[in-house]
Structure formats: structure tokens, C-alpha cells
């Protein structure tokens, strides 16, 4: 799967979780850029991303991720 394809899928996940079809995420997107992305929604988001890509982020990775780009790096590593 190319990086673009991962971003496409990831956008779908973000739109589902935040119930907002206008969301488009980029490498530098962080929680501050998405309305409603608080610590609780973060849990649902991680869960949904794991389900979508059939992967599992271990704890060390989740605590380190700084932005969506780093999340995509990790997804690329695992699929």
C-alpha cells in the first residue's frame, strides 16, 4: 500500500470517528488541528486505526507519536 493509499484510508477513519466528512489529514496534522480530538477520542481513534489496518500499536509507539505523519510511518512499518 502506498503512502497516499494509507492517507486515503486514514481520512476515512478520521471522518468516521469524528463524524465529520470535511476532515483531511496531512503529515503535520496534530490533535490541535481536529475539532474534538481530545484524549478520549484519541482512544477511539487508535482503536479504529488498528482495526482498519489490522495492526496493533504497542505502548511505546503510541506514547511517542507526535503527528499523523508518524502514525503513517508506523502503519507502513507494520503492513
Amino acid at each position: 500500500m502506498s503512502r497516499e493509499e494509507i492517507f486515503d484510508k486514514l481520512n476515512e477513519v478520521f471522518r468516521d470517528v469524528f463524524d465529520d466528512d470535511s476532515i483531511t489529514v496531512k503529515d503535520e496534522t496534530t490533535a490541535a488541528d481536529v475539532d474534538g480530538w481530545d484524549s478520549h477520542m484519541h482512544i477511539s481513534l487508535i482503536d479504529a486505526v488498528e482495526e482498519e489496518f489490522e495492526i496493533r500499536f504497542d505502548m511505546k509507539t503510541v506514547v511517542k507519536m507526535k503527528n499523523v505523519g508518524e502514525m503513517v510511518d508506523e502503519i507502513e512499518k507494520q503492513i
Binding site: 470517528v17 463524524d19 478520549h40 477511539s44 482503536d47 504497542d58
Partner: protein, 594 residues
């Protein structure tokens, strides 16, 4: 909403909870509103969010109070104006084994372990007692899941210092408390986590990352189960089965294969699995669940199948056997009407997806589980929790018998030209008096189950009923009705509170199965007699419309009240002057031996 029916996709619910909630709220439904306090020993945010979806789906609209993180104990034990102000209808305490302070260690003596167990139990007991004293509302407390590792291996279950044994003993103490206290219910997480798989349930990733006591994907399982207890407490349980026959209660098509070739009973493995399912269904009679057949078959074939010597369910176990070639949706609606139940009180069990789809589309609100293959039937129906038991009264076990008598009464009524003659032939005897202890449970239960013949749709807990029974500021009556076919049990309840010389009616309910039997008039007669004795001059009645109680819109007019006001939503107020020369209105029931 299909996505929220068991078996559901947990990850889908977690992911789409925002849009699911939006869709639920767009439906045009009249909700029962409830205030629920969730007091957690760990994170409870998503538990609440998902619980809300399941409750909305059953017609309950919750508002929540959520304790500060892990402050379940402090929130209750210390003065808490916010929670008092919130005035919960129900409190849920969510704790896990990480909240236990005295789990045994290998250094402990037997006495140390006993003291620790006592201390852990007391920590909770004082909390429950305080809630009982302060908030007077039902409490749901979950018990404990097993520890997710076992230092001693299997010996953890037998050693006095074993944590598995410790959890078992503590859970037993919780169960004993539940057995001996009203308005206190255990959510059995020990069982739920076992079903789910303990390793997945207790995945410590979620504790260390987010301080959840269980995996996020397990939250829908927890919240669904919790919603079941709540819907049972708030009177939203299902009441009846509508069961298909061919390939549902036995294997094969009886019309094609013949009664001698259907698969039921010990001869084959397929016959055994159907027999086990029949036994499971039959046990529901003791819960008061009404069994009915809804099958596309010649009636004589249906009966022949149920009379098969290996059939565990017999024709006699069913109240209605709808076996014909009409659409099942039509049969289901008719059955509901005949039994004075709502179609949404039914669980429709059919192996045929097309029939299930028809019921879903034509009779919304009826539960239509995706029951899977025959070996899945029991698990799916059981985990769905349609009949979750929170109170079990003697009446429950007799309910099927009562419905059967009702069908006999209907048949008898049709043989009389004159309705009065029919009522006379029933030889009815009523008992109508103030609340007495043996019926408090049933009275509370009735207040939570009655939807149609219910003027105010106020729900009462058993504790509230007990308080009213002992309080002189109320006039309370229960009505019990017997006739020549049997005892209907407690079928009507009336509660009014006094205000000087006026009595305000808080509740007037009656079970629909005794409709048109003069029972409402008998209740009115006794209410007037009690009011006269108490010096009441005026009785004020209130009708609050809901989706289900249209039938009593003009009830107070029939009782001789005069309408005094009506607002835009159709809420009406009525007045009745208590005169000394009141004429009794009930003609056919002999009340209190007179």
C-alpha cells in the same frame, strides 16, 4: 437499530459512536428520561458513551453524572452537593480488581487474609449503605473479574493466599449482599469477562495507557450488559417469544418430511441440538415469558410436530399457536393484540432471514435476533439478555397459566350474547386494600411494567413503594382479582398524596389483561371510600400522554371526573368531588368479601 442489537460489531460501535448517536436522536420516539450516576474506580468515559447508545436504542434517554477519575468512594462518602442536586434514578459503581486494597500476598497468615477480605468487603458495604441512606435509588455494582496473572498457577484457586480464591470469596460476599438487600444489583463481570476471554478483556495495555479496567473493544459488551439490567429495572424487558417451527424448534420441514422424519430428540446429533434448544425455551415459562408459535404451516402439522414423543415443548406450553399461511407480521400483530401486549414486547425467533427481514420492516420494535445456526441459538438469545431478571416474583412463574386462562375467558366471552352475563359467569372476587408487605415487590414491578393502562407513567422502586406504604400522607391501594379460571394476582395499583382536603393522584395503573372486567370501577369505589374516611373532599387526576397510553386518555371522564385543564402537549387535569352519597360503580366483582 440493527447495529446495536446483539450480536453486534464492537469495533464498529466504538468507531462510529458519534454518528450512531446522531442517527438515534433523529428518530421520532418518545423517550423515558433517566438520570444515571456512574461512579468509577477507573476511566469510565467510553463506558458511558456506549451505554448511552444502547439505552437510547431501548427508548431510555439518559443524562449522566460521572465521578472524577477513580473517585467512586469519595463521591458518595463525603458531602457531595453536585450529586445530590443531580438526584440520580440509578447509580452504577464500576470497579475492578485493581481497586482492591487487600489482595493477599504470600507473606500473609490466614488471619491476615481474612482481615483483608473483611476490609475490602467493608469498604464497599459502607458505600452501598450510604447510597441507600442518601440517594434512595437502585444501585448496580459490578463484581470482580479474575486476576490476569497467576503467580501460583492453579494453586491460586485453592490456596488461602490465592488471588483467584480471594476474588471468588469476595464475589460470593457481594452476591450475599445482593440477595439480602432491595434495590441492589450485581453486574456479573466475572461471567462477562470469561465469555469474552479474560486475556483480551484484561489486556493491561488499556490500563497502563488510559486507565481503563478493561480493553476498549470490550466496552460495548460491558455497556450492553449494563443497559440490559437498566432496561429491566425501568420496565423495558421483552415479555414473549414468537417462535417459528421448521428448522427452528426441530430440524426439517414437517409438511414435506412428515412428523416421523423431523429431527428432534436423542436419536441423532441434530435431533439433540434441537431438543436442547427446546429445553432452553421451555425454561422461560418459569420466568413468566409467554411462549407462542408463529409458523407457516397447516395447524394440524404444527400440533403433530409438538406432539412428537421426543418434542420437549408440547402444544400445552404455548399460549397461542399461529400456524397458517398469512404473513408472519400479520400473525405477530394479531397475537400481540390477543394477549394485550405490544408487538415490541416480542422476541421473534426464525431461522429464515427473509421472514426476519419482513418482521423488522413491518413490525418495528420487535426484537429480531440474527440467531445463526442451530447450535448458536441458545448463546445468541441468552447473551442478548431480552428477559434480564432483576426481580423474580411468584407471579412470574404463573404468568403463562394466567395468559392461558385469559384466552379461555375470551373464548367464553364469545359464547355469551350479553357481556354482563359473561362477567357474571366469571364469578369474580377482588381484594382491594392498602399496600401490604408481601405484595411490595409485585407493586413495584407492576409500576415499572405497565405502559398502556398507566395515567402518569411514573416508575417506583421497591424502596419508594415501601416508604409510601408506611406514610400516612398517601392513600395507596392494590387490587387483586380472582375468577373461576384462576387468580390474576395483583393487577391494579393506585397511589395518591394528600394535600389538605385534596388528594392528588400520582399513579393509576392496571394490567391490560383485566381490561373491561369492572376492576377499574372497583378500584375507584375503594378510592372514594378511603378518601371519605380520610376527609378528602376533592380528588385530582392527571393524565400525561405517552406513545403507549392513549387508551386511558379519557379514563377519568369514565370514572366521573371533570376535566379542568389541558395544555398544548395534551396533559390533562381532572377533578372529582367526593360526595357522601357516592354510588358504587362496580357491578360484577365481589370486593373484600362483600
Amino acid at each position: 437499530m440493527h447495529e446495536l442489537e446483539y450480536p453486534f460489531d464492537s469495533q464498529y460501535i466504538i468507531k462510529k459512536k458519534r454518528s450512531i448517536k446522531r442517527t438515534l436522536l433523529e428518530r421520532d420516539i418518545k423517550y423515558v428520561e433517566k438520570k444515571i450516576a456512574v461512579l468509577g474506580g477507573s476511566t469510565t468515559h467510553d463506558i458511558i458513551q456506549v451505554l448511552e447508545l444502547f439505552l437510547l436504542n431501548t427508548g431510555i434517554k439518559p443524562t449522566f453524572y460521572e465521578s472524577e477519575y477513580a473517585k467512586y468512594w469519595e463521591d458518595v462518602m463525603f458531602d457531595n452537593p453536585e450529586l445530590k442536586e443531580f438526584s440520580p434514578d440509578l447509580i452504577y459503581i464500576h470497579t475492578g480488581n485493581r481497586n482492591l486494597n487487600h489482595l493477599p500476598t504470600l507473606q500473609m497468615s490466614k488471619e491476615d487474609v481474612e482481615a483483608g477480605l473483611r476490609a475490602d468487603y467493608e469498604h464497599f458495604r459502607v458505600l452501598w449503605e450510604k447510597i441507600g441512606d442518601t440517594y434512595h435509588c437502585p444501585v448496580i455494582q459490578n463484581n470482580f473479574e479474575f486476576p490476569y496473572y497467576r503467580l501460583l498457577g492453579n494453586a491460586e484457586a485453592t490456596e488461602y493466599r490465592g488471588s483467584v480464591r480471594y476474588i471468588n470469596r469476595l464475589n460470593e460476599m457481594f452476591a450475599e449482599y445482593a440477595q439480602t438487600h432491595q434495590d441492589f444489583y450485581i453486574q456479573d463481570i466475572q461471567y462477562l469477562s470469561a465469555c469474552y476471554g479474560l486475556d483480551k478483556w484484561a489486556d493491561s495495555h488499556y490500563w497502563h495507557m488510559y486507565k481503563y479496567a478493561l480493553a476498549v473493544d470490550a466496552i460495548p459488551t460491558l455497556s450492553y450488559n449494563l443497559a440490559n439490567i437498566m432496561k429491566s429495572l425501568f420496565g423495558k424487558n421483552k415479555k414473549a417469544f414468537a417462535l417459528d417451527l421448521d428448522n427452528t424448534l426441530w430440524g426439517g420441514i414437517i409438511g414435506d418430511d412428515g412428523v416421523e422424519n423431523i429431527e428432534i430428540g436423542p436419536e441423532t446429533s441434530m435431533g439433540q441440538v434441537y431438543a436442547e434448544f427446546q429445553s432452553y425455551i421451555k425454561k422461560h415459562k418459569d420466568l413468566g415469558v409467554i411462549l407462542n408459535v408463529c409458523s407457516k404451516n397447516e395447524k394440524e402439522n404444527a400440533i403433530a410436530g409438538l406432539e412428537h414423543p421426543d418434542s420437549i415443548l408440547k402444544p400445552d406450553d404455548f399460549i397461542l399457536i399461529k400456524a397458517n399461511w398469512e404473513p408472519k407480521s400479520q400473525n405477530l400483530v394479531e397475537a400481540a393484540k390477543q394477549l394485550d401486549l405490544l408487538p415490541e414486547s416480542f422476541v421473534f425467533v426464525d431461522d429464515n432471514p427473509a421472514e426476519r427481514e419482513i418482521i423488522r420492516a413491518q413490525v418495528p420494535g420487535t426484537a429480531v435476533p440474527e440467531i445463526g445456526s442451530v447450535e448458536d441459538y441458545i448463546r445468541v438469545l441468552d447473551h442478548a439478555g431480552y428477559f434480564e431478571v432483576t426481580t423474580l416474583s411468584e407471579d412470574d412463574a404463573k404468568r403463562n397459566e394466567m395468559y392461558k386462562q385469559n384466552v379461555q375467558r375470551t373464548e367464553l366471552a364469545q359464547s355469551f350474547g350479553d357481556y354482563g352475563e359473561y362477567l357474571r359467569s366469571l364469578e369474580m372476587k377482588g381484594t382491594i386494600e392498602g399496600f401490604i408487605p408481601i405484595y411490595l415487590e409485585r407493586i413495584a414491578q407492576l409500576s415499572n411494567k405497565s405502559n398502556q393502562f398507566n395515567l402518569t407513567t411514573r416508575r417506583y422502586t421497591r424502596t419508594e413503594i415501601e416508604e409510601i406504604a408506611g406514610d400516612n400522607a398517601y392513600i395507596d391501594l392494590y387490587g387483586k382479582l380472582e375468577d373461576k379460571f384462576g387468580d390474576n394476582g395483583v393487577v391494579s395499583v393506585v397511589i395518591g398524596h394528600k394535600d389538605g382536603e385534596t388528594l392528588h393522584m400520582d399513579l393509576w395503573i392496571m394490567s391490560c389483561r383485566v381490561l373491561k372486567r369492572d376492576m377499574e370501577f372497583a378500584m375507584m369505589d375503594e378510592l372514594v371510600a378511603k378518601s371519605q374516611a380520610a376527609g378528602i373532599k376533592t380528588i385530582r387526576g392527571y393524565y400525561y400522554p405517552t406513545a403507549k397510553n392513549h387508551m386511558v386518555e379519557n379514563f377519568y371522564a369514565q370514572m366521573g371526573f371533570t376535566k379542568v385543564s389541558e395544555d398544548a402537549e395534551g396533559n390533562t387535569e381532572w377533578e372529582f368531588k367526593v360526595e357522601a352519597d357516592y354510588q358504587k360503580q362496580n357491578q360484577w366483582i365481589e370486593v373484600n368479601g362483600k
